[in-house]
Amino acid sequence: MERNTISTKNFPHPKHITDPLMLKAYAEALKQKHKWEASINELVREVLGLKGDKPLDPATVPSAEEIRKEMNRYIPENEKLSDLLTAMREE
């Protein structure tokens, strides 16, 4: 279960960075990534109506593939989300 943790798995270990400029850029990028992930976690909690300190468990949210299948029960497959987006922008 994931508890609003911040992932750093895609970042290099700081010990591999020796250039001070790169280290500063790394720290700033990490800070921005933390902020982004925390904001998204908060939003997902709000969307799912999670109250108090109830943990956010992404595994309880169906996968994209499962959602597409369910979506196809209501919206014809030939009506793509990208087309709906384009139409909305052209309105």
Partner: protein
């Protein structure tokens, strides 16, 4: 193909996918409109929105500030783009310049032909997921 491409990238290297936060707002607006018009139930709207946000969490995001917005304006008239696409193109061009210094290349993925034409005119590599094959897409994304 669009789904295949995104799923493959998100499962293998989500940090290589870069989005503008504005696209999240637009996508959720479209989902919300589908829900409000009674086409999809609230439960599906919530799950789809949550999954979209969770996927976006793993991606890199290109932030937007006033300068970014202002610099996107010339692209609107030059390429007859809507405001969102002009902003996305400007953000892509900024990132492209940054990546070039590290010998990395950006591929703009879109299905809107006008945006693709504008991006190509500006020298970006592009990929239309609706018109490419999985091997071609994978080859391009390996560049």
């Amino acid at each position: 193909m669009a789904n295949y491409l995104l799923d493959a990238l998100l499962s293998s290297a989500p940090e290589r996918v870069v989005i503008s936060p504005l696209i999240l707002c637009e996508t959720i607006f479209v989902l919300s409109r589908e829900h409000n018009s009674g086409r999809i139930p609230v439960d599906l709207f919530q799950k789809a929105t949550a999954r979209l946000l969770l996927e976006a969490r793993a991606m890199n995001q290109q932030s937007i500030d006033n300068e970014t917005i202002l610099h996107s304006i010339p692209l609107i008239s030059r390429y007859n783009l809507n405001a969102s696409d002009a902003l996305f193109l400007h953000q892509a061009l900024n990132l492209h310049e940054l990546l070039k210094t590290m010998e990395q290349y950006l591929v703009l993925v879109a299905s809107d032909r006008r945006l693709l034409r504008a991006a190509e005119d500006k020298g970006l590599l592009t990929l239309n997921p609706e018109e490419t094959t999985p091997p071609d897409a994978e080859a391009l994304l390996r560049t």
